[in-house]
């Protein structure tokens, strides 16, 4: 049982790390502010979600697991609203001197 849980952790956390890598590559390669915003919010949020998923089998209790999921939900809400706020600011360009 413990082996199965460890395998799941390794698989999901590795996948999460891959999306953090992809997000960073996107930040380095994408041409302008708005496209970089896509790389940041989408890839990193998926990365965080997969890290949380990978840590769930290692959580000491159901409560700890739910707490992890809650943190991910807060992170998703933050990512979704921040991307809208920054996208507006970047589109207006007035803050983009």
């Amino acid at each position: 049982m413990s082996l199965a849980r460890d395998v799941m952790t390794i698989a999901a956390v590795s996948a999460g790390a891959f999306f953090f890598l992809a997000g960073t590559v996107g930040l380095l390669r994408f041409p302008d502010t708005l496209t970089r915003l896509h790389a940041l919010t989408k890839a990193d949020n998926l990365g965080l979600g997969l890290v949380v998923l990978g840590l769930l089998p290692q959580a000491a209790s159901l409560r700890d697991g739910l707490k992890l999921v809650g943190i991910w939900l807060l992170g998703l809400l933050a990512g979704a609203t921040v991307s809208q706020l920054i996208a507006r600011a970047a589109r207006h360009g007035q803050l983009n001197r």
Partner: protein, 314 residues
């Protein structure tokens, strides 16, 4: 070299690079964002050093209020930058650099000269935890063993708010701090400000409550509550209160006031100023912490809102 050491080196290198970048970059705004990012990374270092209480404070202050305060200051400075034409003279800059290098050198020297193992009172603090019935040693030190310092810190917060208010023009004295924020009530910001504060209130009270046995406490909880209040203010959903209002002033003095009263009671009925009777230690400390959380939340929020700007008459 173990993996842990490698990670510590990577973390230290990132934080140092960011620190140097923050100093070197010429633009105020970039330096400010760099500094906020730096603060968040320092929270990671505190966790790595097993100082979760400090990490929580860094995250609560650096992530929320600190960023708002510094970016606001940077926005004001940028408007001032356009008017100011003179850079500071060569002599002044050389002097500042020399002083900074000297300070850094003295600090580095002191760190290198520390005795090994460093003198510590930590075992004593842990051994005496029975006296209060709280199992978080940091809370014990703050609220019992060094209670005088903590009480005076809260008085300092009170003095700070008096200082900020005294900058108000006579016409606005007793009025509302800061501008009335206007944001689209149907925009994204207002949307977030409707969803997040209730969740933040539960989390803030949890951080306060868990502080007696786990990392957390009045300051971190208060900072989270203040952030939520500011979010509603920035989204235009709430207004800052009249500073002349009796209940506002009551909340501002509630924390240090209750602390002082309990301290005086200790002097009258107990062994010394701020000595808690062992049977009542835990409820007394919790009571003070709750009053302090309210005071800290109100004080931090009002400090960020600034001096009263709008008079009592509309």
């Amino acid at each position: 070299m173990s993996i842990e050491t490698v990670i510590e080196i990577v973390l230290a290198a990132v934080v140092l690079t960011l620190g140097v970048w923050t100093i070197v970059v010429p633009e105020t705004f970039s330096a400010t964002v760099g500094f906020v990012a730096y603060g968040l990374l320092v929270a990671l270092i505190w966790v790595r050093l097993d100082a979760a209480d400090v990490a929580l404070t860094e995250a609560a202050i650096g992530g929320g209020l600190g960023g708002v305060l510094l970016l606001g200051a940077a926005a004001r400075l940028r408007d001032a930058d356009m008017m100011a034409d003179a850079r500071p003279g060569k002599l002044l800059r050389a002097g500042a650099a020399a002083l900074s290098v000297l300070t850094a050198a003295v600090l580095a020297g002191v760190v290198l000269l520390l005795p090994d193992p460093a003198p510590t009172l930590a075992p004593a603090a842990v051994a005496n935890a029975w006296a209060t019935g709280l199992s978080n040693p940091v809370t014990n030190v703050l609220m019992a063993f060094r209670a005088m310092d903590t009480m005076l810190e809260k008085v300092v917060l009170l003095l700070a708010i008096i200082g900020v208010w005294s900058l108000a023009p006579d016409s606005a004295w007793g009025g509302r701090p800061g501008p009335r924020h206007q944001a689209d009530p149907r925009g994204v910001l207002a949307f977030l400000a409707r969803l997040l504060p209730p969740v933040g209130i539960v989390i803030g009270i949890y951080i306060l409550w868990t502080g007696s046995d786990h990392p957390g406490g009045a300051f971190q909880g208060g900072a989270i509550l203040a952030s939520m209040w500011l979010l509603a203010i920035m989204a235009g959903l709430a207004d800052t209160p009249l500073v002349s209002h009796r209940s506002v002033r009551f909340i501002l003095v509630a924390g240090p006031g209750l602390f002082l009263l309990v301290g005086l009671a200790g002097l009258l009925f107990g062994a010394a100023f701020l000595s808690y009777p062992p049977a009542l230690a835990k409820p007394l400390i919790l009571g003070i912490e709750i009053a302090m959380t309210l005071t800290i939340a109100a004080t931090l929020g009002l400090l960020l809102a600034g001096a009263p700007e709008r008079s009592t008459e509309p």
